[in-house]
Symmetry: C2
Amino acid sequence: MSTEPRLLEVRQKVLKQNDLLARSLRKRFREAGVYVISLVSSPGSGKTAFLEKALTLLRSRYAVAALVGDLATENDAARLARSQAPVKQITTGTICHLDAEMVERALEGWNLDELDFLFIENVGNLVCPSSYDLGEDLRLVLMSVTEGEDKPLKYPTIFNTADVAVITKMDIARAVEFDLEAANKSIQSVRPGMRVFEASAKTGEGVEEFLHFLESRRNFANQDFIGEPVAQCRG
Amino acid sequence: MSTEPRLLEVRQKVLKQNDLLARSLRKRFREAGVYVISLVSSPGSGKTAFLEKALTLLRSRYAVAALVGDLATENDAARLARSQAPVKQITTGTICHLDAEMVERALEGWNLDELDFLFIENVGNLVCPSSYDLGEDLRLVLMSVTEGEDKPLKYPTIFNTADVAVITKMDIARAVEFDLEAANKSIQSVRPGMRVFEASAKTGEGVEEFLHFLESRRNFANQDFIGEPVAQCRG
């Protein structure tokens, strides 16, 4: 299509502006000692259920908060607020991803110094969020056992730009004849060496294991911090 | 963001060009007497499984074919080809939707006069495909019982631009504690009066009912055709 190159060019400028803002956000997060995790997945993969469980468990030992993006409704913020953690909804209208500016705006009024962990749940989408850095320390991609084991092959970029994967809804894996080996093979072929957790927000399976991983990552990041942000390991 | 208005402007030009091409495609489809159905949904909602079942059942009494879009892989075309119907894969790279030009290009070499039904499976995405007319007669939005009953509220545009809805994976509705009434309420609040089918590609439940609906729609469209396309009922 003849107009595509122009569209791409404008989009690249938007991305560049986003990257600069994300870099300053990352610096703020690091200086405040808050470890930031973003969540991306297809709509309906169970991001919110997983996050609600994680917030509920973590808040007994850490100061945690969450931002949650959606095109419309505040449903997810209401669900996450049941964890008793501070939560803000970002509604994006027709935009299929969060960007650094939306995150920065949503953080107004929050004292980052008081937080240990901040979670950012992106809009449910396997394409758009991949290009937008939000200043996070760790990007988590979730896929549920109902989505088909080849999702990573079909949406390689979102798996490539993520740091770890969580397979959700493991409690119904048998009912939907989920093939764990095939799913792992798909993930590893797109992002070799990626750490994969298996979890169920309903039974709690795997959630604590994931949280221990986050704690050790946070400790490592804070140890390592000597005024400059650590290099991002994103590919 | 300061660059957003420019980005929107360029995007509107792309859309306008797409609309012109979609209009000419719609005319070609109508003249050839082929009824065209597009499928949109979140990744993993079961578009391909539903379509495979529909193609397999329909091809005993009609000439059917399918185009299937994905960012990468030809996995879905391979699955659909098991129905013995002609199938072509459209790989979009990093683009999160099909457009009319991709459809036109994929149709090269096919004689539309020989077809009764053409299905176009869009890239799994609840945002991007909504703005792109593909020249289809009917746009079908699918949501699975595992996705959460409020998906239509969170992604109103894709439900608004669709003509009918199919709730998929009904065979596991009980296992995932799906609330059919809540889902229907969400759909109707976004798109009042929308016809909703409940189906399972695995058990076959609801698929024949949907196909009868398509047959009657096709008969109606062909009866109505006197050289000009009928008005689109899309909202």
